[in-house]
């Protein structure tokens, strides 16, 4: 009861008012090992289904994927066990006792239904080739499937063997066939909340900004906290302050981790444990639209790479662990990452490169010019919850304008931003010139891996980099067709070398990812995809 707000509550109690139960949780008998975990997040949830934020939170509570990826980069069973001998034929068997929250058994048919649902209603190309408006064909993934008689197992055979096929499945949430089939568009909000995870949806209180998941006992995954209580904050200041005041036990920050300012505020506190791991994400990257005329010129991109002030970005946006990134934007902590040459700020080199392409900066001019036209581009940034991305834009603009390249900043809210920078939300009509991106560990690993989904102009969902080079497309298909890890490693090196020479995107800095947890608890697991909030943590966590 050290919490100051509780002191106020006690005062109210003396006045004859009963305290509210949520704050009373700590008073429980210490021998009673039942506990709830309170998680803070800076998110807005609309009480609507198909909401991205809800999907993100439910991913570590109510929904299960077939498999998960642990912190060592190994795949582990989640909903199913898995087996493959040749990386072409995969056998998934649903773990005994897995049930949907309405009591129905989970079967291999649900897995098949989910893959088909993706084809019919999502961006899937599992069992059929997909042709987009431009005529690009995405070939199907699977040649065939076979469900066992007891409906517990499914054998999926790929068209071409792919050693990294499992990476595509770590966030694929399996959907209940018995609820969706035949009434896909009429599923009610309540039905859409049914999952098969160790927690089930309990309540969403819009006035309290809380989302509660309660333990689903009928699940083979045995988790310890009886409830996960998410409190949603509107800004980071309130979020970190809540952590400091102990009104929450941990913070959910997808992919980026705790901010520099947040760490500064929390690190003096002994009651908070901070875990830092080398970042597997790219917090901020300047990504060119590589198919526009200006950025087809490698000299311009290269000049920009030499004009950016990496030392300054480290100082502004990260802590003492920050490093200057390499020319390939892939974080060096990624598996199969290779060391490419390091980026550096050399203005004379940048000038030389621009001169080679005919851009001249005369004395007294502010910007480089070619044919009397200033060298300029529009930089699109996302208006995120704590105005960080506009600040990245500010830093890039300031550096480049100091050097002599005019940058017009355009700040858009996140939906408008996606409509300009991603294939899915723009219907394959990406219109930005350059944008500030944040690459998540999951995104970097998806598809062929190594950030290819962000670069590949033909990717059905992302594709912000708009790289349309046949050489690059070939590397991607080779990555996808790698039968052995050795083969994959060779192609992975090739793709990073491609980034090194063609610079489709420039990471501004590379940093550690930090997580926080109340020191009352111990035994957390850090997952490569979801961070500290994951099923392993809920299984292993202990209250001291």
């Amino acid at each position: 009861m050290k919490n100051k707000s509780c002191i106020f509550l006690s005062a109210l109690m003396i006045l004859g008012v009963t305290s509210c139960s949520a704050f009373g949780a700590e008073q429980n008998n210490p021998t009673n090992k039942e506990f709830e975990i309170r998680i803070g997040a800076n998110l807005t949830l609309e009480a609507k289904r198909s909401n991205y934020e809800y999907d993100v939170l439910s991913g570590a509570a109510t929904q299960l994927a077939l498999i998960s990826l642990n912190d060592k980069g190994e795949y582990e069973p989640q909903l199913t066990t898995f087996k493959t001998n040749d990386n072409k034929t995969y056998n998934f068997t649903v773990i005994e006792g897995m049930k949907w929250h309405d009591g129905t058994k989970v079967t291999a048919e649900d897995i098949l239904y989910t893959l088909k649902y993706e084809d019919n209603f999502g961006n899937g190309h599992n069992f059929k080739d997909v042709t987009d408006e431009k005529g690009n064909v995405t070939p199907k993934l699977y040649e065939s499937f076979e469900i066992s008689d007891d409906k517990a197992s499914i054998v999926l055979t790929l068209v071409t063997a792919n050693v990294r096929h499992l990476s595509n499945l770590i966030t694929l949430r399996i959907m209940p066939k018995h609820i969706y089939e035949g009434k896909e568009s009429e599923v009610t909000d309540k039905e859409s909340l049914i999952g098969c995870g160790p927690y089930k949806f309990s309540s969403f209180n819009k006035n309290a900004n809380t989302l509660v998941f309660e333990k689903f006992d009928d699940c083979p995954i045995k988790v310890k906290p009886t409830k996960l209580i998410y409190t949603l904050y509107k800004n980071d200041t309130s979020l970190y302050q809540a952590m400091k005041n102990k009104s929450i036990d941990t913070i959910y920050k997808y992919s980026v981790g705790i901010s520099k300012e947040g760490l500064a505020a929390l690190k003096k506190d002994d009651s908070i444990v901070i875990k830092s791991v080398p970042g597997k994400n790219v917090p901020a990257a300047l990504t060119f639209n590589n198919s526009i005329e200006l950025f087809k010129d490698i000299n311009v991109k290269n000049a920009i790479a030499y004009a950016l002030e990496y030392d300054r970005y480290k100082l502004l946006f990260s802590d003492e662990n920050a490093k200057t990134p390499n020319r390939s934007f892939i974080p060096t902590s990624q598996e199969f990452a290779v060391e490419t040459s390091s980026l550096s700020t050399i203005l004379t080199k940048a000038t030389e490169l621009l001169n080679n392409s005919g851009y001249i900066k005369k004395d007294g001019d502010k910007y480089f010019k070619k044919d009397n036209k200033e060298l300029e581009f529009t930089l699109t940034t996302k208006l995120d919850a704590n105005n960080l991305h506009p600040r990245y834009g500010d830093a890039v603009k300031t550096s480049l304008e100091k050097f002599g390249i005019k940058v017009n900043l355009e700040t858009l809210d996140s939906s408008k931003y996606s409509e300009k920078t991603s294939n899915k939300f723009s219907n394959n009509n990406i219109t930005h010139e350059a944008a500030i991106f944040g690459y998540t560990p999951f995104g970097l690993n998806s598809g062929a891996g190594f950030g290819t989904i962000y670069m590949d102009a033909n990717h059905p969902v992302q594709g912000g980099g708009q790289v349309n080079d046949p050489k690059f497309t070939e590397i991607i298909s080779n990555l996808n067709a790698s039968k052995t890890l050795e083969e994959y490693k060779v192609n992975a090196t090739l793709v990073q070398k491609y980034y090194e020479t063609n610079i489709p995107s420039i990471a501004l800095f590379s940093a550690n990812t930090s997580y926080v947890f109340s020191a009352k608890y111990d035994n957390f697991a850090i997952d490569s995809t979801f961070g500290i909030i994951n099923y392993k943590t809920w299984e292993n966590i202990i209250k001291k």
């Binding site: 980071d236 500064a264 505020a265 105005n387 600040r391």
Partner: protein
Amino acid sequence: MRKANTFTYYLGIIILLMFALWAIFPSSFAPYELKESFTPWQGMSMSHIFGTNDMGYDIFTEIVYATRDTLIISISSAFLTMLLAILFANLSLVKKFGIGLIFDTLINVLLNIPKLIAILVLISFLPRTRINIILLISFFSFASEAKILKNKIINIANQTFIEQNILYGFNRTYIALHSYLPNLKNTLVVRLLSVLSKTIMMESTLSFLGMGDLYYPSWGTMINFAYQRGAFLMNAYYYLLAPGFMIMLFCISFYFVSERFEKGS
């Protein structure tokens, strides 16, 4: 009491002059160049009197440079507001062809529309340029001023000396210049000053809600950034408070100056 008034009057004038100079010659008053970067989140010191922000920019420098943007928008909208108010007040008093009735009704209609909501809705349709912001602020602010002016004019008209002038046969222009104007002068000054504080308040609220330029921030935008970027977490209260203090200082100086004219208004 009069002495105190004189003191605050000159204090107000001095502060306003300072702001005017900041706006016109920012580079002479700002200790550093705009966008010159230092170690972020430095506390208050001799070299950075309000410290530095998340981007390592000197906060005082940013405040000085923000003055121009803040002032251009609030002063232009205040003058436009007063012009519209004078126009509408006069037109609403025209007795011919029901013109007065039309304009009087228009004033009352505009009074009913919640200002902030209307401006925000319209600005979301239009390009967020300075001119548009100025036009919108003035358009939704002038009605209350027009109403005040109209009442004042009626008030003056009912006074005996005007009737005398009419009886003496002076023409309208003469009456307007020699009878109405001297009596209205103080009211106009007081209203203008009060409108100035209101427009700066409106400008900073719009900026705080993210309607302003994020790269060249005005005072309101600075407060928005301070809050969102964690000034509180870094104990950088000055980043949060200094721009707010400038808004207060600006408004209060207008009040000090206007007090002197209030008596005669």
